[in-house]
Amino acid sequence: MIEAKNIIKTFKNGPIETQVLKGIDLIVNDGEFIAIMGRSGAGKSTLMYQMSLLDHPTSGAIYIDGKDATALTSHERSRLRLVTFGYVFQDYALLPELTALENVVVPLLMQGMSEKDAAARALRALQRVGLHERPGNLPSQLSGGEQQRVSIARAIAHEPTVLFADEPTANLDRESSDAIMEIFKELHGRGQTIIMVTHEDEYGTLANRIIRLDDGRIVSS
């Protein structure tokens, strides 16, 4: 379970301060599929970055299974991101000089797995997203949809507690987007907790709860 308590995030640009999140309270239970939606600039991605420990809130706290994650050291947060979370970014974020398989292998190696075991598990993850026949392709040899599937395989290979996805279909065509959402549905069907930021209503409705943000506040939940 992830709990956000009175999260405030303020960005400073010289003398100008912009409060992007204005006291967010949110609880995500295990196995939930949450869609965070809202207009551009509403604070959707910023909220996800706080909850996924990629950023520090200006004030407030994030509890992961009851433990205050804002009090963790940088090293502990990094460890938590490696083991407990999985990330799918809008622009796939694959390392260009690594093949599809190698991109999935890296975080597994970081968890101390042997290269052989990591490769076997990475291949299984690629199989789950339907890319097991092209493990040796470099990202440049894959379409946008295929790259995003590799990104999902990387995010789920270590079986994270929570999968974070930041606008995972934003750069994809309709067909690829549908395929990605099918994977998310399938993952959720197996009990995977998913927190997804999206601005597309159609995909938001696939979640079992939609959090709507406006001007840094939750307006509906």
């Binding site: 990094s78 190696l109 970081m110």
Partner: protein, 421 residues
């Protein structure tokens, strides 16, 4: 689990693939820079030291041999020379022995043309004369090989001299203290030699040309008996006995053998290292330091090159570094990957440099020394010195690779992912 070992393993995994899939041109260029750095560091110093080694080597092959006997400081010649030479020739380590007379004097040229003409400048100079047995000297130092004009002395030559190149104006480097090169002197020219007040007209048989610092260039050779007469020496005691040892014989050990035999009572016994003129050792050290200074500049340039390459690489990959950190890869693992990449450039560059150095340059330049005015230079590159220089390159490169990666890795993870400054 998240140990240094894991960081190194992941760093290696990333580095291996980054290097393998990097642009071949970029990799080739960086490796080329590293090869040049290696050669700059090793060869420049090696040639500078080799210049002086070239001089030392010239003294050994042309004058001193491996061990040389000269008169004691309080004597004018080596007493009992014949017995000493016979003793030496009987020793198993000895290859060749040459006995020489030597004396200072003057030599004058074109005196016939300028006789009675008070306006003509005197064409005369102080000189160092050496009396030799032509055949023995040829066996010892291949003296005939240095004859560029005219011919070598023959066994029955009389009143004939070989002039070292510094005595001939067209080969010399201008006036030197106590040596004014002779003008218009060619094989067949008459010269007037004055030694110990004895004057004799002689004929230039040939001109010996070698580098300026070689003993041959600085001496005038004539048959031993003739110089002995000119010196007014009535016995057969000589001034120098130079000994060439068989390959593998140690000059220091041989010197000690002679000293134990009592030769030290009648002659100064020195190895070639001990006999080379004062200052050569200091010049050698100086040149080595200059070489190191030049090499250090090369090292700094290479370090900056690696720094820039890694910095640009890390900067353009800042987003990916952010993502790696975002998904839990430690900053240390990412830094290690860049250190491994730098190591790759340093090791491959040094490896290629080693091949070029020991596979081509050293043997080639040994066989074909670089002939420079002061010496025929070879490349002196002892393995230990080369190893130290490789270590320097590796350390400098690793630091140059680590610093920029550290600078980029330390940036805020989310800022890196989002491309924010």
């Amino acid at each position: 689990m998240n140990s240094l070992f894991t960081d190194i393993r992941v760093g290696w995994y990333l580095a291996l693939r980054q290097v393998r899939r990097a642009s071949k041109w970029t990799t080739t260029l960086i490796v080329f820079v590293m090869v040049l750095t290696f050669l700059d560091l090793v060869v420049v110093t090696g040639v500078l030291v080799g210049l002086i080694d070239g001089i030392t080597n010239l003294y050994r092959t042309q004058e001193t041999g491996d061990v040389i006997l000269t008169a004691l400081d309080n004597k004018n010649y080596i007493e009992n020379s014949a017995q000493v030479a016979a003793l030496i020739k009987g020793l198993p380590q000895v290859e060749t022995v040459t006995e020489r007379y030597s004396s200072g004097g003057t030599i004058e040229a074109n005196y016939q043309e300028s006789a009675g003409d008070l306006n003509t400048k005197t064409n005369e100079t102080g000189a160092s004369f050496v009396g030799i047995d032509p055949n023995t000297e040829q066996a010892f130092g291949k003296l005939a090989g240095y004859v560029k004009e005219g011919s070598y002395l023959s066994e029955n030559d009389y009143d004939a001299v070989l002039l070292g190149s510094l005595y001939v104006d067209r080969y010399s480097f201008g006036k030197m203290p106590s040596l004014t090169p002779l003008e218009n002197v060619y094989p067949g020219s008459k010269v007037r030699v004055t030694i110990n007040g004895n004057v004799r007209e002689m004929t230039v048989r040939g001109i010996l040309v070698s580098t300026a610092n070689s003993p041959i260039a600085q001496r005038i050779y004539m048959p031993a008996d003739e110089l002995r007469l000119l010196m007014g020496r009535t016995d057969n005691n000589v001034d120098e006995i130079a000994i060439l040892l068989k390959p593998g014989a140690d000059s220091g050990v041989f010197r000690d053998t002679l000293l134990r035999s009592g030769v030290g009572d009648v002659a100064k016994v020195q190895t070639f290292d001990e006999a080379i003129p004062n200052g050569v050792g200091e010049v050698k050290d100086t040149f080595a330091q200059i070489g190191n200074a030049i090499g250090s500049v090369g090292l700094v340039v290479a370090s900056i090159t690696i720094f820039i390459v890694i910095f640009i690489n890390a900067l353009t990959r800042r987003k990916f570094i952010g993502i790696l950190k975002g998904i839990g890869v430690t900053g240390r693992a990412i830094e290690v990957s860049y250190v491994f990449q730098s190591l790759f450039y340093a090791v491959i560059g040094s490896g290629v440099g080693l091949l070029v150095l020991y596979g081509f340059l050293v043997p080639y330049v040994s066989a074909h020394p670089i002939v420079l005015p002061i010496s025929a230079a070879i490349i002196v590159a002892p393995v230990l010195d080369t190893t130290v220089r490789i270590a320097l390159i590796v350390i400098a490169t690793v630091i140059a690779g680590y610093i920029p990666s550290r600078m980029i890795v330390r940036k805020n993870t989310l800022d890196s992912i989002l491309g924010r400054n």
